[in-house]
């Protein structure tokens, strides 16, 4: 190992150290020139120039010279040439990186065991100066052992390799290998890729740039024969209310890839670990079928369900998990004026009452006064043409700030107290008739708003057919959002948020007198969306896919995961949580200010609870494997290697030995990068020199003499 320079020509720059000396000896006295009107008097004064050919401040001169030497040396790109060490081994010391596929397709046969054996064989073949790393990868990559020559440690790392539930991604693993090789000081690098080479794991543009001089050695581990793989890809869970009880009819989609002959497959439905139903499906090669089970009645929350088929070569995709909870009907309160006609809410009540799954529980109060008991347990309130008094408005304010939603439909007898005017999204003005022609229409809808987003697509609901003959004018507040406008630009539907809740004002009525919206087909989904939005209802996700992450501090995320809003808010509070993994392990999620992310890496059921508690029906999330891995189509290992190495090899083919040595020298210099440190030190010296010379200059003041050096 010796010190060498990549561009030694720059060392000529060291000759520059004579510059400060020459400058000092020749120009020092004239560094400050003062323009003066006339030297008439100065020339008359007897003056004898001091002999200043003597260097006074050797320290300053040394600083300057040393800084220049460092700059010149930095440009010459110094490095420690370790290539001579290569002569000790057969091909020089190597940096070996072993990448082992841990995706769940490696569970087929003895692929994982073979991978371990191959890794150990590679490690046994290491030379005395070689170093090796072990990286397990699937969707991501984990370094089990990094750049070591300790065989014991490497073998221990091999023993930790396990099959995961994730799919194959070659990119992250190769980038880890690239980083290890770039950081290495050894002259050559080898990357062993131990995998079954699934085509889905390589997109072809992963941005991998292995350092020059390194090579990829594929070690295929896939089965020699084609695999006949059957998998459960999806389960649909439609709900229906039958005799006041909620029933779910699971339908599983079963797919078969490969095979030569038709095959019978028994598909089993399990609920809470108990086998409930079984059906036999007949599958042709490369075909799919749907298996519908008998309806089941949901009675308990967080019911764990699994659709299972018998084990085959690839077992992970033979089960599909889901979680079901009984649908919670959203309590909706309709408030009417006491003297209003009995059918004033006919259409509204009818729309809320029509649903397969009984998603709304409608209550009606015929009084302008709203009592606190009326609002208990209610998610959304529809004020249909009601003259609200001040006390009721304040109760509604508290209701909204705590997360409730209020819909105010203005009509002939509607009114709102001035004391609570800030609760509305605007100021109610005059009533206006639109009797010209065929009345007014809705001219603008905010399709990005949750109420209208389901109507955004073509043939997803037509609001333009509705005619409006009378409406109240509204001057919207600055903080209000306008959800809909009439064709003359006036406000039809406006929203204002208060606390955790929201207030929506509809400037026309919900009956068929002021408009005929209630007679349009779009009225029913419109009212449903309104009620769901006001009640803050979120669609629950029955399962997740491996690789997803859930923030357990976010009530919305928990609600999406299947918790009702009150439970979600309770669990997300700043209290400790613990998650039990499908494999039996636990993850502690201590309370804190920030998010609490739970990575869903295993397929199965994740249970989340507070430490020390054992609830009867704990919160459960179902996680299924990424089905991309079930596609066992393969990529040719040599093709993959060529694609990886194409970005690293010179464009004009295999480099000659001399070029290779040059590449190695450049590679060594790039890895060591001493020039950066030299420049930093030189910069520091220049700064020190400036400080010292200024100090000396100030010290000297107006006295004779200058700064030496």
């Amino acid at each position: 190992m010796s010190l060498a320079f990549l561009v030694p020509l720059f060392l000529l720059g060291i000759a520059g150290i004579v510059v400060p000396i020459v400058v000092h000896l020749t120009r020092r006295q004239r560094r400050n020139v003062v323009h003066f009107p006339s030297l008439m008097f100065l020339q008359k004064i007897p003056y004898q120039e001091q002999r200043r050919r003597r260097i006074q401040h050797w320290f300053l001169l040394s600083l300057r010279a040393l800084a220049l030497i460092l700059v010149a040396a930095a440009f010459a790109r110094p490095f420690f040439d370790r290539s001579s060490l290569g002569a000790l081994g057969s091909g020089g010391p190597r940096e070996v990186v072993v990448l082992v596929d841990q995706s769940y397709s490696m569970a087929i046969g003895d692929q994982m065991e073979r991978a371990r054996q191959e890794a150990e064989r590679i490690f046994r073949g290491l030379g005395p100066l070689d170093r090796a790393s072990l990286v397990g990868f699937s969707r991501g990559a984990d370094v089990a052992a990094r750049s070591t020559s300790d065989l014991t440690r490497l073998r221990g790392a091999v023993d930790t390799l396990q099959v995961s539930s994730a799919a194959t991604r070659f990119g992250p693993a190769l980038k880890v290998a690239q980083t290890i090789l770039e950081e290495s000081t050894l002259p050559s690098g080898e990357v062993y890729l131990l995998t079954d080479f699934q085509r889905n794991g390589w997109t072809g543009d992963e941005g991998v740039r292995l350092p020059p001089g390194s090579r990829v050695i594929p070690v295929p581990l896939g089965a020699a024969t084609a695999i006949d793989n059957v998998m459960v890809t999806d389960v649909s869970l439609p709900r229906q209310m039958v005799a006041g009880r909620e029933r779910v009819t699971p339908t599983a989609r079963v797919v078969r890839r490969g095979g030569d002959e038709p095959r019978e497959v028994v598909v089993t439905l399990e609920l809470d670990g108990q086998e409930l139903q079984s059906q036999t499906a007949s599958l042709l090669p490369n075909s799919a079928t749907a298996v519908t089970f008998q309806p089941i009645t949901l009675s308990r929350p967080h019911t764990r369900g699994t659709v299972r088929i018998p084990d085959d070569d690839l077992t992970t995709d033979n089960t599909h998990h889901f979680v079901l909870s009984p649908g919670n009907a959203l309590p909706v309160l309709i408030v009417e004026a006491a003297q209003a006609p009995s059918d004033v809410s006919l259409y509204l009540r009818g729309a809320l009452g029509i649903s397969d799954d009984g998603r709304f529980e409608v209550r009606t109060r015929r009084s302008s006064t709203i009592r606190p008991v009326d609002l208990e347990g209610v998610g959304a309130v529809f004020l249909n043409n009601v003259l609200v008094d001040g006390g009721s408005a304040e109760r509604l304010r508290s209701f909204v700030e705590n997360g409730g939603g209020v819909f105010v439909a203005l009509g002939q007898g509607a009114g709102w107290p001035a004391s609570a005017a800030d609760l509305l999204p605007g100021t109610i003005g005059q009533m206006e008739d639109r009797l010209q022609g065929r009345g007014g229409r809705l001219g603008f809808l905010d399709y990005e708003h949750p109420v209208f987003e389901v109507f955004a697509g073509p043939r997803s609901g037509d609001f333009t057919g509705a005619r409006f003959y009378r409406a109240w004018r509204m001057q919207p507040a600055d903080s209000a959002g306008i959800l809909a406008r009439y064709d003359d630009g006036s406000v039809a539907l406006a929203e204002l948020r208060h606390g955790r809740g929201r207030v929506l004002v509809w400037t026309s009525s919900l009956d068929a007198f002021w408009n005929d919206l209630a007679l349009q087909p779009v009225f029913l989904p419109f009212v449903h969306r309104l009620a769901e939005y006001l009640g803050g209802r979120a669609e629950a996700v029955p399962w997740f896919v491996t690789g997803q992450v859930v923030d357990l501090a976010d009530p919305d995320a928990l609600e999406t995961a299947g918790l009702v809003s009150s439970e979600a808010a309770g669990l997300a509070e700043g209290l400790d949580q613990v998650a039990v993994l499908p494999s039996g392990g636990t993850i502690s999620l201590p309370a804190g200010e920030g998010p609490r992310y739970l990575p869903l890496d295993e397929h199965g059921f994740y249970t989340v609870r507070r430490p020390g508690t054992d609830p009867d029906r704990p919160f459960v999330m179902a996680v299924n494997a990424d089905l991309e891995e079930s596609d066992l189509g393969r990529i040719d290992p040599e093709e993959l290697v060529l694609q990886i190495e194409a970005s690293a090899a010179p464009s004009d083919g295999t480099p000659a030995l001399g070029d290779a040595m040059e590449l190695r020298r450049e590679d060594q210099e790039r890895r060591q990068s001493f020039w950066r440190w030299l420049l930093v030190v030189a910069l520091g010296l220049f700064v020190l020199e400036t400080v010292v010379s200024n100090w000396l200059s100030r010290k000297r003041g107006g006295a004779a003499g200058g700064v030496a050096g």
């Binding site: 400050n32 020139v33 003062v34 003066f36 009107p37 008359k44 003056y47 004779a704």
Partner: protein
């Protein structure tokens, strides 16, 4: 070193209302002395015809016989011509030195700027009292010449605005030419930094006085020239010759100050001997002080005549 020029119209920068306000008060004072006659503020050095008798001189052939004092002839039996003093408007010219040394300025105002302001104020003031005003700028030769006239104020202010110091200068050559150019006697104000030996300066200016002009000399100096407050050892470069010499101010200051004092004292003495008003102006001091000195000098001239 030179002060930045303003972008205002030519000449207007010189007419500082505050300065002119002070001068206006002095003019009122002068008017009181000479019975409020504007034309009488300056007594003309010319002898002419007026009600104020001056002297008699023997009749020479060719003199107008109407000017013979017959009463004196009756008493003395000799012909004498009666001469009177005339109060006429004077010729007032400023001789401004544009040598490169005038471009020096240790602060915001260079000597040349100070000199230009001074010249502009004097010319404006003189023109206001109906003097004919003129301007001569010079370095080692005549750079610009505006003959005295009642109508040349704007031209002079414009030329002053354009005047720049930048070339080497001497006094003898240009002033000799000026002596020849200015035929009619008048008031001459010489503004310079006089970086020449006192004898050379006097030999250049004395002919003007000998021609009968009233000469007023303003010696414009920068405070750094007078006090030499430099500290750092530096190379000093002559603005006119470009010559450089190494200077250690701490060692040379005493000698420099002594030489400068000798120079100034000598100039003061030699100008006084030649009946030339001499005023040393420091560019760090207000300009109106110089104008005040000028008016005092003019008043003194008027009384002395």
């Amino acid at each position: 070193m030179a002060a930045p020029r303003s972008s205002t119209a030519a000449g207007t920068q010189f007419l500082d209302p505050a300065v002119l306000g002070r001068i206006a008060n002095l003019e009122l004072l002068a008017r009181t002395v000479v019975d409020g006659f504007l034309t009488g503020l300056h007594r003309s050095p010319y002898l002419g015809f007026s009600m104020d008798f001056a002297e008699h001189r023997p009749y020479m052939p060719g003199d107008d016989i109407r000017r013979i004092d017959w009463r004196l002839f009756a008493r003395t039996d000799r012909h004498y011509i009666k001469l009177f003093e005339a109060d006429t408007n004077a010729n007032f010219s400023v001789l401004l030195d544009l040598s490169a040394s005038m471009s020096y300025g240790s602060h915001s105002l260079a000597k040349i700027d100070y000199a230009r302001y001074l010249a502009a104020c004097l010319i404006y003031f003189s023109n206001k009292q109906r003097d004919r005003v003129g301007l001569v700028t010079f370095d080692h030769e005549i750079v610009d010449y505006v003959p005295p006239s009642m109508k040349h104020l704007d031209t002079i202010l414009h030329r002053l605005d354009q005047a720049e110091a930048g070339r080497p200068g001497t006094l003898a050559g240009p002033l000799l030419k000026i002596t020849e150019m200015l035929g009619r006697k008048g008031i001459l104000v010489v503004v310079s930094d006089f970086y020449e030996e006192p004898d050379a300066v006097l030999s250049a200016i004395a002919p003007l006085r000998a021609r009968g002009h009233d000469v007023i000399v303003f010696h414009v100096m920068d405070p750094y020239e007078l006090d030499f407050p430099f500290e750092e050892a530096s190379g000093f470069e002559d603005l006119e010759t470009g010559e450089q010499i190494p200077v250690i101010p701490g060692k040379l200051k005493g000698d420099y100050m002594a030489l400068m004092k000798t120079h100034l004292d000598t100039l003061q003495q030699r100008f006084t001997e030649n009946q030339i008003d001499y005023t040393l102006l420091n560019t760090a001091e207000p300009l109106d002080m110089a104008l005040f000195q000028y008016l005092l000098a003019r008043e003194r001239m008027s009384k002395a005549r």
